[in-house]
C-alpha cells in the first residue's frame, strides 16, 4: 500500500517541481540512495515495539485504520482513521520546533449506506501538536488519538471527530501482526520501488459512533496498516486500487493494483491464513477487473470489482456499502467499506486514488 506517497508529493514539493514531476515521472523524486532519506532494504527486519513508533529518517509513513462495523440494528457502517507523516526534506529528524521538516496529516471518515463524512487535520511535527510514540504506544493529531489503554500495545483507544461525526472506539487484538510483501519488504513496481509494510488485520472493535445527533453503539473488526518508505511510485504509475478483505474462517486478503499509464499494471498482495501466516501473491497470480462504474464527484469511478486468485480458488465480486465514499479533502480519493460474495463472502475496505 502506497497511499500517502501521492499526498506527500503534492504537499511537500514546490509547485514548479510538482509540474516537472508529473511529466518526468514520480519515480525520479528523491528515491535514489544518497538522497539523504533512509533506504528501504529487504534485509531490514521489522521489530516491535520500536516500529510502532515513527521513522523520521524515512520520507513518508502512516498509521492507517479501517473498520467494518455494525450498529445494534445490524446496519453496516465503516470508519477510517489515518495519520500520515512526511518529511519535506531529509536529515530533518534532528530539527525541533517550527523549523522541523516533519508534517503530519490526519484523515478520518465515517461511511454508512447513505452518508459519507470526512475530516482532515494538518500539524507541524516538533511542537507536540501531532506525533507518535512507540511505547507506551500513542499517535495523535489535535484531539484525534490512537493510544494504548495500558502498558501493552493493545487494547487501544481510537477517537476522532469532524463536522457532523465523531467516534470513540476500543480495539483489541485477536491475532498477531503480519508482515506484508516478503517479510515486511513490499515491492511496488518491477523497477524495485518498495516500502516496509506490516499490518494488524485482527482487531476486534467496540464503541460508539455519533453521526449528526444519532449515537450508535457499534461493534465489528478493524485492520491497521503500518507502512514507511522513502521511495514514491515508479515512473508512469498514476494511482492505485487497494483492498483489505476479511475472508471467512479468519483468513485475510490484502491486494492492490498500481495503475501504469503505459500499460502493465502492477498487481500483487498477500494471503494471510487464520493463524497469521502471510504469503505474497506474486504479480501474475492475481486478477482485478472493474465491473461497474459510477459517477463520483464528477469522476467515473469503478466501485464494483471482480477479483480472481485461481491458485487460491478465490473468485469474488465486491460491492460498495456506499458508492459515494469520496474523501473530498485536500487530496481527494475514494475510501469506503465493501462487501463481497462468490467463492468467499465477507466485508472489507477499498481505496482508489489517482482518478
Amino acid at each position: 500500500m502506497i497511499r500517502a506517497l501521492f499526498l506527500a508529493l503534492v504537499l511537500a514539493v514546490p509547485a514548479a517541481a510538482q509540474q516537472a514531476d508529473v511529466s518526468d515521472g514520480l519515480g525520479m523524486m528523491a528515491s535514489d540512495p544518497g538522497s539523504g532519506y533512509h533506504e528501504v532494504l529487504p534485509e531490514t527486519p521489522i521489530a516491535f515495539p520500536a516500529d510502532h513508533g515513527p521513522h523520521p529518517g524515512f520520507r513518508i509513513e502512516w498509521w492507517y485504520i479501517t473498520a467494518n462495523l455494525e450498529d445494534e440494528a445490524g446496519e453496516a457502517l465503516g470508519i477510517q482513521w489515518t495519520l500520515f507523516r512526511f518529511a519535506t526534506r531529509p536529515g530533518g529528524e534532528m530539527a525541533a520546533g517550527w523549523a522541523t521538516p516533519q508534517i503530519w496529516m490526519g484523515h478520518a471518515a465515517v461511511t454508512t449506506a447513505d452518508i459519507h463524512l470526512a475530516a482532515e487535520r494538518f500539524a507541524r511535527g516538533g511542537i507536540g501538536q501531532a506525533g507518535a510514540v512507540a511505547e507506551p504506544f500513542r499517535a495523535w493529531i489535535d484531539e484525534w488519538r490512537m493510544e494504548s489503554l495500558g502498558t501493552a500495545y493493545a487494547p487501544l483507544r481510537l477517537t476522532s471527530s469532524g463536522d457532523g461525526f465523531s467516534y470513540d472506539l476500543e480495539l483489541t487484538e485477536e491475532g498477531p501482526w503480519v508482515l506484508q510483501g516478503e517479510r515486511g519488504y513490499s515491492v511496488k513496481s518491477e523497477r524495485g520501488q518498495a516500502s516496509h509494510y506490516t499490518s494488524q488485520p485482527y482487531f476486534k472493535v467496540r464503541g460508539e459512533v455519533e453521526i449528526g445527533t444519532r449515537a450508535l453503539q457499534v461493534s465489528g473488526r478493524a485492520w491497521m496498516d503500518r507502512e514507511w518508505s522513502s521511495q514514491p511510485l515508479a515512473e508512469g504509475q498514476t494511482g492505485w486500487d487497494w483492498f483489505s478483505l476479511h475472508l471467512p474462517k479468519g483468513e485475510k486478503l490484502m491486494l492492490y493494483r498500481l495503475r501504469d499509464e503505459r500499460g502493465g499494471d502492477y498487481l500483487t498482495g498477500n494471503w494471510i491464513t487464520a493463524p497469521g501466516q502471510s504469503e505474497r501473491l506474486a504479480p501474475g497470480t492475481v486478477a482485478m477487473e472493474p465491473i461497474r462504474w459510477v459517477d463520483v464527484a464528477g469522476l467515473e469511478m469503478p466501485v464494483a470489482w471482480q477479483v480472481e486468485i485461481p491458485a487460491r480458488g478465490l473468485s469474488i465480486r465486491t460491492e460498495p456499502l456506499n458508492a459515494q465514499a469520496w474523501n473530498a479533502l485536500s487530496t481527494s480519493y475514494w475510501e469506503g467499506p465493501v462487501r463481497f460474495d462468490g467463492t468467499h463472502r465477507g466485508v472489507g475496505y477499498l481505496e482508489m486514488t489517482g482518478y
Binding site: 503534492v10 504537499l11 511537500a12 514539493v13 514546490p14 509547485a15 517541481a17 510538482q18 519535506t88 526534506r89 530533518g92 530539527a95 520546533g97 517550527w98 523549523a99 522541523t100 521538516p101 508534517i103 494538518f122 500539524a123 507541524r124 511542537i127 507536540g128 501538536q129 495523535w140 489535535d142 484531539e143 471527530s161 463536522d163
Partner: protein, 816 residues
C-alpha cells in the same frame, strides 16, 4: 437580403466619418462602463481575500493578556482539546530603508482557505513552511520594497527568506511561515491565535485549557470594508453610467442621421418589393453587428482604462479605508459579457426610434430630411415641457421621498430634465440674442445657430451631461478632500499615538509623564453601551486638556467642555446624532452599570468613515461610572523641537510596542495627503475621458451636419462672404454654443454635487459632507470645453474653408 445589406453598407463606405461616429460612440461608452465595472468588481472581490490574513480583526482571536503569556504549550494544549486555532506572530522589518509588516502564519492550521490563494503559482506549502522557507508578497509590495523574486533580501533583522509572488495577498505585507517569523523576530511566544469560524467549538472552553493567560477578542465588524468603500464605488459607478449615457447620445445622433440620409435608399428598397419586416430585420442585423464590433473594441479599451487606474484606485481604497486591493487585474468573463450586453442594449435604445420609423415608413413618402421639418418650434416646446416635468419630479423626490432611492431618482430626474431643457434654453437664449443683434451677418449667424440646435442638440446634451457630471463629482471629491484633511489635522492633533499592552498602561503613563520632550499626555478610555438598540462606543477623553482647544465640532454649545468636565454633557458623533435624532441640548441617557447617566448633548462632531456611533464624555467621569474601564491608548503632544522619531524609538525599546500600537502622526498625515492625490488622479482621468466622449459626439454631429448645411452656406458665399470667413463664423458659432452649454452645466453640476453630498451620502453613510465650491475647477473645465469644441469644429470648418467653389455652385443646381 444580401443586396439590401450591400445597399445599406455602401452608405457607411461613402460616409466613413459617420460610421466612425457610431463605432466610436458605442466603443467609448462600453469602454468606460466596463472599465469602471472591472475596477469595482476587482476591488470588491479582493476584499475577502485581503481581509483574510491582514484583517485578523475579522476572526475571533485569542490574545495574551500580557506579552509572552501565549506560549507554544498553550497553543498545542488548545489544539489537542479540539480548538481549531491557528497561531500568528507579527512584527516589522525594514527592507531597503522601508518598513514592512511581517506576518508569520502556520499554513497547516490557518482557517480554511485563508492562504490557499496565495500559493497559486508560488511555492508549495512544503517549501513555504520548512527551512530555508520562502516569503510571500504581493507584486506591488515586491516593487515597493525593491525585492527580487527568487532572491533573499536583507533586512534589519537579517536575511529574509526567498521572495515569491502571491497575487492574492494584500499589499504591504510580507507573509512567512511562523517558524521563519520566530527566527527573524527573535520571538519565543505567539501574538495571537485565530479561531476558525467554520470549525465547531469543543465542549471544553478555551479558558479551561489556557487558564488566565488569554483573552478573547471578538471579531470586529467595525472594519466592514465593503460598507465603508461603498461610497467610493458608488461614485465610480455613477460615473460609469453617465459616461455610458453620453456614449448613447453619440450613437443615437449618428444612427439617426444615418437613417435620415439613407431614407432614399430605404425607400428604394421598399419600392423594389422589400417588406417593412425584412427591412427592419436587415437594419437590426446591421446594428447588432456594429454593436458587437464596437462593444468588443470598447471592452479592450475598458480593460486598458481599468488596468491604468487600478493602482490608483487600490491606493485610494487602502488609504481611505484600509481596504487592500491587489493592483493586478484579472479578466472576468462576467464583465466581458455585461459589457457586450450594454453595448448591444445601448445601440438598440439609441436606434429604437429609427427602427420604428423604418418599420412604419410609407413606401411612397418623399425623402424629406427630418432635421428640415418645420415642426422644430413645436418639438422644442414639447421637450421643454418634459424637461420641466422631470425637474419637478426631481424636487418632489427630495421633498416627499426619503432614502437612497429617492436620492437617486432625484438625481436621475434632474439630469434628464436639465438635459431635455438644454435645446429649448439654448434656443431661447439665441432668440434673445437675435433681438439685440445688429447687422445681417450676425443676425444670420444667430438664426443659423438656432436652426442648428436640432442637429447639434444631442451632442450638446451629451456635453452638458459630461460637464455637469465632472463638476458634480469633482466638487464632491474636492469637498471630501478639504473636509477630510482639515478634520484629520484637527482630530489627530497629538504627535505620536501609542497603544501599549494592557499590563503596561500604568508604567507607560509614568514613563510619559517623566519625559521632558512630552509636553502633554492624552489618555483615552473606551467602553461600550447599548443606545437605541445598537452597541455604541463610549469614549472618555480628558476634558481639561488640549482637547478643549483642538477638538473640532460640527456644532457645539459655548460651554460644551465645561459641561463635559462637570459630567453633565456629552458629545455625540454625527452618525449617532442622525440615527437617534439628537440635536444640541437634547438629553441622552447612558446605561452605566450603576444606573442611567443622564447627559445633555452639548456638541456634535464629525466621525467620518466610522459607521458606528460614538459618544464622548470626560475620562474621569467615565471611569467613575464604569469602574475598571481599560485604557484605549495615549496621544503624546511633544514639546516644541522634540523629535517624534526619537520618542517612538524609545517607546519601542522600553515597551516593545509593535507597529500597530505606535503611530507617527506626521507620517499618517503625509500618507493621507498622498492618498488624496491619487484619488485625484482617478477623478482627473475620468474627467478627461468623459469630456473626450462628449467632444467626439460634438465632432460627429458637426461633421455629419457639415454637408447638409451647404445649402444654407452656399447662398451666403454667393452673396460675397469668403469661405474662410464662413468657416470662422462656423467655428465661432460652435464655440459659443459649447460655452453656453458649459455655463449651464455649472448650476447643474452643483446641484448634482449637492445631491451627492447632502442626500446620497447621508442616506448611505449617515454623515454629510460640507459642500465646498471650487470656481477654479470650473474655469479649467470651461477652458477645456472650449478647446474640445474648437477641436471638434476644426475639421468641418477647415473643409468648408477649402471647399472647391464648384461644389458650392453645384448646390444651386441641385436645390431641392
Amino acid at each position: 437580403m444580401r443586396a439590401a445589406f450591400a445597399a445599406l453598407a455602401s452608405h457607411w463606405r461613402a460616409k466613413p466619418l459617420q460610421a466612425a461616429a457610431v463605432v466610436v460612440g458605442l466603443m467609448l461608452a462600453t469602454a468606460l462602463w466596463s472599465g469602471i465595472q472591472a475596477l469595482n468588481g476587482e476591488a470588491r472581490s479582493s476584499y475577502a481575500e485581503a481581509a483574510a490574513i491582514l484583517d485578523g480583526d475579522r476572526l475571533d482571536r485569542l490574545e495574551p493578556i500580557a506579552e509572552g503569556r501565549l506560549t507554544l504549550e498553550i497553543y498545542v494544549a488548545l489544539r489537542r482539546a479540539g480548538w481549531a486555532v491557528s497561531p500568528v506572530i507579527e512584527g516589522r522589518v525594514t527592507v531597503g530603508g522601508r518598513s514592512a509588516r511581517l506576518i508569520g502564519v502556520d499554513p497547516l492550521t490557518l482557517p480554511n482557505g485563508r492562504l490557499t490563494g496565495a500559493f497559486d503559482g508560488g511555492p508549495g506549502i512544503g517549501a513555504f513552511s520548512a527551512p530555508p522557507w520562502s516569503m510571500l508578497a504581493a507584486p506591488e509590495t515586491i516593487e515597493d520594497l525593491g525585492l527580487r523574486v527568487g532572491e533573499r533580501a536583507s533586512s534589519d533583522r537579517g536575511p529574509l527568506p526567498e521572495t515569491a509572488v502571491a497575487r492574492a495577498l494584500a499589499p504591504g505585507v510580507l507573509v512567512v511561515d511562523i517558524g521563519a517569523a520566530e527566527a527573524l523576530l527573535g520571538r519565543t511566544s505567539l501574538d495571537a491565535l485565530l479561531i476558525d469560524p467554520e470549525a465547531p467549538r469543543p465542549d471544553t472552553g478555551w479558558a479551561e485549557v489556557a487558564g488566565e493567560a488569554l483573552r478573547l477578542v471578538e471579531a470586529d465588524d467595525e472594519s466592514d470594508l465593503e460598507r465603508l468603500t461603498k461610497s467610493f464605488h458608488l461614485n465610480l459607478t455613477a460615473f460609469g453610467v453617465l459616461s455610458f449615457c453620453v456614449g448613447l447620445f453619440i450613437t443615437h445622433a449618428a444612427v439617426g442621421l444615418a437613417f435620415e440620409q439613407r431614407l432614399g435608399t430605404l425607400r428604394t428598397l421598399r419600392a423594389c418589393g422589400m417588406s417593412a419586416r425584412s427591412l427592419t430585420v436587415v437594419l437590426l442585423g446591421e446594428l447588432v453587428l456594429v454593436a458587437l464590433f464596437a462593444g468588443a473594441l470598447g471592452l479592450i479599451a475598458g480593460y486598458g482604462i481599468a488596468a491604468a487606474l487600478l493602482p490608483d484606485v487600490a491606493a485610494t481604497l487602502a488609504g481611505l479605508y484600509g481596504a487592500e486591493v491587489p493592483g493586478a487585474l484579472t479578466l472576468r468573463p462576467e464583465w466581458w459579457l455585461a459589457g457586450l450586453c450594454m453595448s448591444l442594449g445601448g445601440a438598440l435604445v439609441a436606434a429604437g426610434h429609427t427602427l420604428a420609423l423604418a418599420w412604419g415608413m410609407p413606401v411612397l413618402a418623399s425623402a424629406r430630411p427630418e432635421a428640415w421639418h418645420g415642426a422644430q418650434q413645436r418639438s422644442l416646446r414639447l421637450q421643454a415641457g418634459f424637461g420641466f416635468l422631470a425637474l419637478v419630479l426631481a424636487g418632489l423626490a427630495i421633498v416627499l421621498g426619503g432614502g437612497l432611492t429617492a436620492g437617486f431618482v432625484s438625481m436621475a430626474s434632474l439630469m434628464i430634465g436639465a438635459t431635455l431643457l438644454l435645446p429649448p434654453v439654448l434656443a431661447g437664449a439665441l432668440s434673445a440674442a437675435q433681438r439685440v443683434a445688429r447687422g445681417p451677418v450676425v443676425e444670420w449667424v444667430i438664426a443659423d445657430a438656432r436652426q442648428q440646435i436640432s442637429g447639434l442638440g444631442l451632442a450638446l446634451m451629451a456635453l452638458l451631461l459630461a460637464l455637469s457630471t465632472n463638476i458634480g463629482v469633482g466638487t464632491m471629491v474636492e469637498s471630501f478632500r478639504a473636509t477630510f484633511t482639515t478634520w484629520l489635522d484637527q482630530r489627530l492633533f497629538a504627535d505620536v499615538y501609542v497603544d501599549p499592552a494592557p499590563e503596561q498602561t500604568a508604567r507607560f503613563r509614568d514613563w510619559a509623564e517623566d519625559r521632558d520632550d512630552v509636553a502633554e499626555t492624552l489618555e483615552t478610555v473606551r467602553t461600550q453601551a447599548i443606545l437605541g438598540g445598537v452597541s455604541v462606543a463610549v469614549v472618555g477623553r480628558p476634558a481639561g486638556s488640549s482637547y478643549r482647544t483642538e477638538w473640532p465640532f460640527l456644532a457645539a454649545k459655548d460651554d460644551a467642555w465645561d459641561r463635559i468636565a462637570a459630567g453633565e454633557g456629552a458629545i455625540v458623533s454625527e452618525q449617532l446624532a442622525r440615527r437617534l435624532g439628537l440635536a444640541l441640548g437634547d438629553p441622552l441617557d447612558l446605561p452605566a452599570p450603576e444606573g442611567a447617566w443622564t447627559l445633555e448633548t452639548v456638541a456634535i462632531y464629525a466621525d467620518y468613515g466610522n459607521p458606528k456611533g460614538e459618544v464622548g464624555v470626560d475620562r474621569e467621569r467615565l471611569t467613575g461610572r464604569w469602574p475598571g474601564t481599560a485604557s484605549d491608548g495615549f496621544g503624546l503632544r511633544l514639546a516644541p523641537g522634540a523629535s517624534s522619531d526619537a520618542v517612538m524609538r524609545d517607546v519601542e525599546a522600553a515597551f516593545g510596542a509593535g507597529p500597530d500600537a505606535l503611530i507617527d502622526n506626521a507620517a499618517l498625515k503625509v500618507f493621507s495627503h498622498r492618498v488624496f492625490e491619487r484619488t485625484f488622479a482617478v477623478t482627473a482621468m475620468l474627467n478627461v475621458l468623459t469630456l473626450a466622449i462628449a467632444g467626439a459626439a460634438l465632432f460627429a454631429s458637426l461633421a455629419t451636419l457639415a454637408d447638409r448645411r451647404l445649402a444654407q452656406v452656399a447662398p451666403l458665399w454667393a452673396m460675397g462672404l469668403t469661405r474662410r470667413r464662413l468657416a470662422v463664423l462656423d467655428l465661432a458659432k460652435t464655440a459659443a454654443l459649447a460655452t453656453l452649454t458649459a455655463v449651464l452645466a455649472i448650476p447643474l453640476g452643483l446641484a448634482v454635487a449637492w445631491l451627492l453630498v447632502a442626500v446620497v451620502n447621508v442616506e448611505a453613510f449617515g454623515w454629510r459632507l460640507p459642500l465646498h465650491i471650487f470656481p477654479g475647477q470650473w474655469a479649467a473645465l470651461m477652458a477645456l470645453t472650449l478647446g474640445v469644441a474648437l477641436l471638434a469644429g476644426a475639421l468641418p470648418a477647415l473643409r468648408l474653408a477649402r471647399m472647391a467653389p464648384a461644389r458650392l455652385v453645384k448646390i444651386f443646381a441641385e436645390e431641392r
